[in-house]
Subunit: 138 residues, 2 copies
């Protein structure tokens, strides 16, 4: 999660919503990404989506059965839906996202085989988001 946090800081430095993601497979980082919706002018360019594509490319397999996604903020519906298709082993996120996170729906959008862990480095990850949105309002 420390590496995902570093990715989120990259996003912040580039004026993007500061969310970072890392995919680990057999104790090895195989993909790192941060949100690039502004730079790429593309609503689908969330950190998780970029990381899924990169991890599948690395593995030569679109299914990420042995992989863990670390992401600094609770995934949105789109990214949870993509996790479903990727059939990840585990999703670990930092800060909750009560407004746009998938969990607000009260339905498990991840694959039934995907384990979910939350709250890792939550405060630091949340603070990056607060820093970003406060700076936008000022």
């Amino acid at each position: 999660m420390q590496e995902a946090y570093r990715q989120a800081k990259n996003a912040l430095a580039e004026g993007e919503i500061p969310i970072g993601a890392v995919i680990v497979c057999n104790n090895r980082v195989i993909a790192k990404a941060y949100n690039q919706t502004e730079k790429l002018n593309d609503v689908t360019a969330h950190a998780e989506m970029i990381a899924f594509t990169a991890a599948a490319e690395y593995l030569g397999n679109k299914y990420l059965h042995d992989c863990t996604l670390y992401v600094t903020v609770e995934p949105c519906v789109m990214c949870a839906g993509a996790s479903y298709w990727a059939q990840l082993k585990r999703v670990v996120y930092g800060a909750p996202e009560p407004k746009r996170g998938y969990r607000r729906l009260g339905v498990n959008l991840l694959h039934p085989k995907t384990e979910m862990v939350s709250g890792i480095l939550a405060q630091e990850c949340a603070e990056l988001m607060t820093t970003f949105f406060t700076s936008k309002r000022n």
Copy 2:
């Protein structure tokens, strides 16, 4: 929807799940795509996702407020979640997808401003899916 259907047939011809999508903005087709998850080895490469990215690129705007998405099959959770972010004016789909479609959740995953229309060319779109899955089972 006829053009989306043609896109779905392209997918079928390439051994992909036959789903096609088109985005129309001010009576003009600005993006066409079909499912390429096998070819690109990427679970995120659904027709709709590719079309959103292409339409945003064309318009130079990641928000697709004035756009209608035509897609041959009811979008999945990932694509509905992406539609939310893109804030489409309208989503029009052909065949329902009771197993993987977003509507099975009973929650509106699209943006509150997005109008939804279903059932256009439904039978033809569904038949393409049946053709594909029947051929896979034989």
